[in-house]
Each structure stands twice: as C-alpha cells, then as structure tokens.
C-alpha cells in the first residue's frame, strides 16, 4: 500500500502537541507525512512556543485560535490530550489520522519502516465486517479472503468508521500494570487488521488512531475528564471514553471499527510509578461505564451521528450522573461538542 495510491487531499493529519519541540517527531514522520496537510494543535496549557521544522504543509492552532473559534469558555474542553479534538473540529477533510507526539514510525519484522498513514487510510477505505468474525482477519487484504462458512450476504461489509492502531515498545497499558511490569515492552508485531465485532466493547486508545470524519466526526467526543487528569496517558481516560461512545454509535448505525496494524513506536515518557501515586480515577469510572454501555440501547429514531451523541449524553446524565460528577460533565461536554461541531461545520 503506497501513499501514492491515497488521495492525499482527503486526509488531514492531526497532531496534539503536548511537547513544544516537535522537531524529532515531525522529522521522523517526514517520509510518511510529506504531501499531506497537517493540523497541529497546541495544548492550551503549554506555555512554550512550538518548534516545527520546515517543509511541512501545516496549520498550527494555539489557545488564541481556539478561543476565536469556540469562545474562551469552551477552550478548556481542548486542554491536554484533548487538544487534538480541536483539530478534528476545524478540519475539512474526509479522513483524520492522529498520532501522539511521543511516537515515531515503527519497523516491521522485515526491518522496514511502517507507513502508518497509508495503513490507516487503507483500513478506512475498505469495508469493515462487524457482523460475523472472519478467522483469517481482514478479508480484503492481499492474500486473504473470507473463510468457509462466512455468509455471502455479509461479505460486502459495512463502512469503516475508525482504524485503531497499536504500539511497539511502550504499549498503552495503565499505570498499575506498567508500574508492576516496569521492564515490559511490547515486542510482538501482529501482522493483522481485524474488525471488532458488533456489540463488543473495547478500550480505544487515542495514541494512534484514524477515523472517517465525514461518517462519525461528531462521535469523537472530548468529554470525559478525570479528576487530576495529567499530561501523560496514564493519567487520562478521555480517549477510552470517546472510544466507547464511538463504538456504541458505530454499532447502532451499522458501521465498523477496525483494530490492529498499523503499529507506531512509542517512546518512553513519564513514570508509571509516579502516575500511580496520583489516584487514578479512571479505574472507578470504567467499572461504572461498562454495565452502562453494555445495556444501553439507542432509540431507533436516532439515525444521525449527532442525534446519537445527544441521546447518549442524555443517557449518561440520567444513568451515570449520580455516580460521579465526571459523568455529568462528560454528558454536558458531549452536547456542547455537537453544538460546536454543527456551528463550525455548517459555515464550511
């Protein structure tokens, strides 16, 4: 899959800058980012100026830009890792590829650098198959197909809403796990892409993700902010919550979510033990979220993504609001997000 085959005009690469110096990051991704339009969104709480190397077609958004578009009171929605969502909001493209600024291209088992952008777009452009599990994984890739026993009526698949990539080196484990296994690094390169079955829940990581903005943009909600949220992934849950919402809405609307390749190489950052010292509220919130999503049924009448988000927000407020204020805030943020989405995207 070469990048020459992708229509680069359909893709925006959105980077949330939590680090000021993006030189190493962008230089390492240059072979795969070149030719694409980049949107770099600076964490509004980051004080230093961004350092961006030459040669990229890039638009940079900082706190002032955010406030111009969404108003000063709403810019807090985009602090920390959530800054990238602002990029999703203002993009005009069909596909978004988003990679954390502490990741560089990974090498495949043959030693070649992995073109994560191309792989994500390939995943998004090909159908997903959530209604029946294919034991040979992605049936649309070279050298594979649907296996015996796979119903023919399901072989055209459904639109792919999101492509969730993985990480070599520092995997996206939570703080307790990484703190317990301090030396553990992910060295396993699993050569597969697969569709996560309908109704199955999963923890979607924001570290290396792509999605069809036209299809599900409003469902990419920057909503759940845990108390004491920090600037390392071990201290956040925003992406996992966003992913639960996205998966549920995708299932409801008949779209698919893929997981697997591409891999990125995730560099060391932060200290899991340090993060563990701060009480990680995420654990508690996940335990409450799971039964909620498991039993949730969106109304049949919710046919548009925006409506699904609104209905989901209502249900969150009703059923989870009393459990933790974080859920009420998330519900409010989801509604606000849809409002912002509609207002920003109607003028474009």
């Amino acid at each position: 899959m070469s990048s020459a085959e992708i229509n680069k005009n359909e893709v925006d690469i959105v980077i949330g800058a939590l680090n000021a110096d993006l030189t190493q990051f962008l230089t390492s991704w240059r072979p795969f980012f070149s030719g694409f339009h980049l949107i770099v969104v600076k964490d509004p709480e980051l004080k230093e100026e961004l350092n961006i190397p030459e040669g990229f077609d890039v638009d940079v958004y900082s706190k002032t830009d955010m406030e111009k578009v969404v108003g000063a009171s709403n810019s807090t929605m985009f602090s920390g890792y959530s800054c990238r969502y602002f990029g999703y909001l203002v993009s005009k493209k069909k596909y978004i590829v988003s990679i954390d600024d502490d990741c560089v291209p990974a090498k495949d088992p043959k030693g070649f650098l992995v073109d994560a952008v191309s792989q994500h777009v390939f995943n998004l452009e090909n159908p997903a198959t959530p209604l029946f599990f294919n034991t040979l994984y992605d049936p649309y890739c070279e050298g594979a197909d649907f296996v015996r026993g796979y119903p023919f009526s399901l072989r055209s698949g459904v639109p792919c809403a999101a492509s969730c990539g993985l990480w070599l080196n520092l995997a996206d484990l939570d703080a307790p796990t990484q703190a317990l296994k301090t030396e553990q690094r992910n060295t396993s390169y699993v050569d597969a892409v697969m569709t996560v079955p309908a109704k199955a829940m999963l923890p979607i990581s924001g570290i290396n993700i792509a999605f069809n903005r036209e299809l599900v943009g409003p469902a990419m909600v920057p909503a759940l902010r845990i108390a004491g949220e920090g600037k390392v992934r071990w201290e956040t849950l925003e992406d996992v919550w966003c992913g639960m919402c996205l998966k549920h809405i995708s299932d409801h609307l008949g779209y698919g979510v893929k997981t697997g390749m591409p891999y990125v190489w995730r560099n060391e950052r932060g200290d899991a033990v340090e993060s563990l010292r701060k009480k990680w509220e995420g654990m508690k919130l996940m335990e409450k979220s799971v039964p909620f999503f498991d039993s949730l049924k969106l109304p049949e009448t919710a046919l548009k993504v925006e409506d699904c988000v609104i209905e989901l927000a209502k249900a969150v407020k009703e059923q989870l609001g009393s459990d933790d204020p974080a859920f009420t805030q998330a519900a409010d943020a989801m509604v606000k997000w849809v409002q912002l989405w509609n207002s920003v995207n109607s003028s474009g």
Binding site: F132, A144, V147, R148, G149, D174, Q184, K199, M286, E287
Partner: protein
C-alpha cells in the same frame, strides 16, 4: 510460498503436558502417514482414530503411537440404533471420537495437516499451544486490543475494566492454517492459487455475542466444559449437505459458551494444510449450505437459551427444539438434524453417565 516444518531428527517432546488428560481424535479414510511428521509433538498422547468409509480397509498407524480405532462396524455396535446420528462418508464422524473419549481435553486434527513453521523457521508444536490456550482464561466480555492478555509479554490495555481481568474458563481453542486456506468452494474456484502465508502471531478471545466459522481441522476443546455440544451434525452419505459439520458445531458451541460464560479462542497455533480438496466436489457438498447459512446465521444470532438451561446438555436440547421449530421450514433436513441432536445427547449421556463425570458446564 510457505513450507511445512522439517521435523526429522527432532526429539520427542520430553515434557509433554497433560498426556493423561488429553485424547487426539483423528478421522481418516486413507492413511495416517502424516503422523510420522507429528511424532515429536504427538507421540506421547493417546489417539482415537475414527475410520470412515469402508470398514474392511486396514488403516496403518505409524509405530510407537498408542491408539484405539473405531470403524463403522464399531460405531454401529457401540451405539446401536443411536448410531444414526453419526455421519458416514464425511469427516463429521470424528465426533464419535469425542463421545467415546474419557479424557478432559480433545485435540482434533485432519490427516492432511502437517507441522507448520513459525516466522523464525522453528517447528510449531500446535498441541502445546492449544493446551496453553485452554489452560489460561478467556476474555469474552471486553475486547483487548493487545489480544491475549495472559500471554508472555502482553497484558490488558489501559481502560480494560479491572473487574473483567480474571477472565472465564476457556472451552475451545480454534487454530489456523498456513498454505491451503479453509475457503469455501466458490472462493477456491475463483482463487485456486491463493495460499495463506501470513503468520499472525496472536491468540484472541472471540467476543460474547459474536459468531464465527469454526474449522475442525485444527481444534482443541475442554470436553468436560463443552463436549456434548461438539456434535458435528448429519453430513455425507444420504444427507443433502457436506462441509458444514464443523460450522454447525461452531455455531452451537458459541451460543452455548456465551450462555454459560465460557470462552472461545482463535488464532495460534498454525498447522500446515497440505491438501486442497476438489473445489467442484466441494461445491456440490456445500451448495445448499451456501443458501441455508443465510437463514441459519440469523437463527443462531437470535437464539436465546433459558435461564433454566445450566448444563451443556440442557442447552443443547433446548437448541435442538429451536432448530426443529424455526429451521424445519427451511428444509426437512433440519427436522432430522434436530432429532439427531437429541439422539447425540442421549448417546453421549449413555456413554458418559453424568455421575461418573466431574463437573460439566456451569451456569
């Protein structure tokens, strides 16, 4: 291109796991030469050979293997009139081996499956991997993006609920195949040269509520947990369909495993599948199945077992009633199949009296 492993000179595994608790069930109609290649990994285990076709034919079993062999005459003798539920002239007959086994675990493999190589060139001990899969928990309630969290070097990812990290018991381990992939006849006809060369280094749990096409070529299961549901249906001689035996069992076991909170894994191990069956012959066998599966799949997807069904047998009998009620209109074959499902359970219970079996399925 991919090749099978060369196991000549490999010593027999000095520390084989579960030799007293596992039987290897092999259906055959021709010969068992393939077992020569499997010696290092399979010789320590007891074999149950189910000989299909002409019972007068002598099947040669390579030296050194400990086995029991059943041909059609044996099946008729042992089951009497209940033998009608065991297929003839189809590898579905293998499920007779599951029934007569007295062990906790079963590994079943086809006689055209050889030892595969992993990407480093090492011979894959498929049985050892199956055992690992069965002995460690499954995680059907929440998908782990790093696949099997219990594997060396892996774990649950951030956001995976802690309350679900203990997992549930694994009932089935579904392995895959390099070289000749398990395609249906139409796909084989369109892509006769396609070979599976992709070694996907992962085991994963198939989520609850998700059905899959279970292939019987390289399969292992916990007989105590799910055995009675591993009926491979009525196929072959006198039946309107073939090559749906394992599919049928796979749909049944998945519905029951989901109901009983048991796990089904798929992925590693790989075997090397050497022989492509004739696609035109396959097409004739599968033909009806291709149409029928369009109805059968929604049937299984919507099948709801009652709270009162707490054993595998109870679940299976309930399922058989639903088959009779909902699928007979599709074809009278399903009426017969539903009856055969009941006969199978009766035969299973006769050969495996409940009192003598330790713990079977759980609510």
């Amino acid at each position: 291109m991919v090749e099978p492993a060369n196991t000549v000179g490999l010593p027999v595994n000095p520390t084989p796991l579960l030799t007293d608790e596992l039987d290897i069930v092999i259906p055959t109609i021709r010969n068992l030469d393939f077992l020569e290649m499997w010696r290092p990994f399979l010789q320590p285990y007891h074999l149950i050979i189910v000989q299909d076709g002409d019972p007068t034919k002598k099947i040669h079993v390579p030296e050194g293997y400990d086995y029991e062999l059943y041909n059609r005459n044996d099946i008729n003798r042992i089951l009497g009139p209940k033998a009608s539920c065991i297929s003839f002239k189809d590898s579905a007959c293998r499920c007779f081996g599951y029934m007569v086994s007295k062990k906790k675990y079963i590994f079943t493999i086809d006689d055209d499956c050889f030892v595969a190589k992993d990407p480093s060139g090492k011979a894959v001990n498929a049985l050892e991997q199956h055992i690992k899969n069965l002995l460690c928990p499954s995680s059907p309630f929440f998908f782990n993006t790093l696949y099997d969290p219990y594997r060396e070097g892996a774990d649950f990812v951030r956001g995976y609920p802690f309350s679900l990290r203990e997992g549930v018991s694994t009932a089935v381990s579904h392995g895959l195949w390099l070289n000749i992939p398990d395609y249906d006849a139409p796909t084989q006809l369109v892509k006769p040269k396609e070979r599976n060369i992709r070694y996907v280094d992962a085991v994963m749990t198939i989520p609850k509520g998700t059905l899959f096409p279970m292939c019987g070529m390289n399969l292992a299961f916990d007989r105590d947990l799910i055995g009675p549901a591993m009926y491979f249906g009525l196929m072959g001689d006198g039946q309107p369909i073939g090559r749906y035996d394992d599919m049928w069992a796979g749909w049944c076991i998945k519905v029951i495993c989901d109901h009983l909170s048991l796990g089904v894994k798929t992925g590693l191990p790989y075997i090397y599948h050497s022989k492509a069956s004739n696609p035109f012959v396959n097409l004739k066998k599968e033909y009806k199945g291709i149409f029928w599966q369009e109805e059968i799949i929604p049937f299984f997807q919507n099948a709801k077992l009652s709270k009162e069904a707490t054993t595998v047998q109870q679940c299976y009998i309930e399922l058989s009633k639903m088959v009779k009620e909902k699928l007979s209109s599709l074809d009278p074959y399903f009426d017969k199949l539903a009856d055969a499902m009941v006969t199978w359970i009766e035969a299973w219970d006769e050969l495996n009296p409940p009192a003598a079996v330790a713990g079977n399925g759980k609510a």
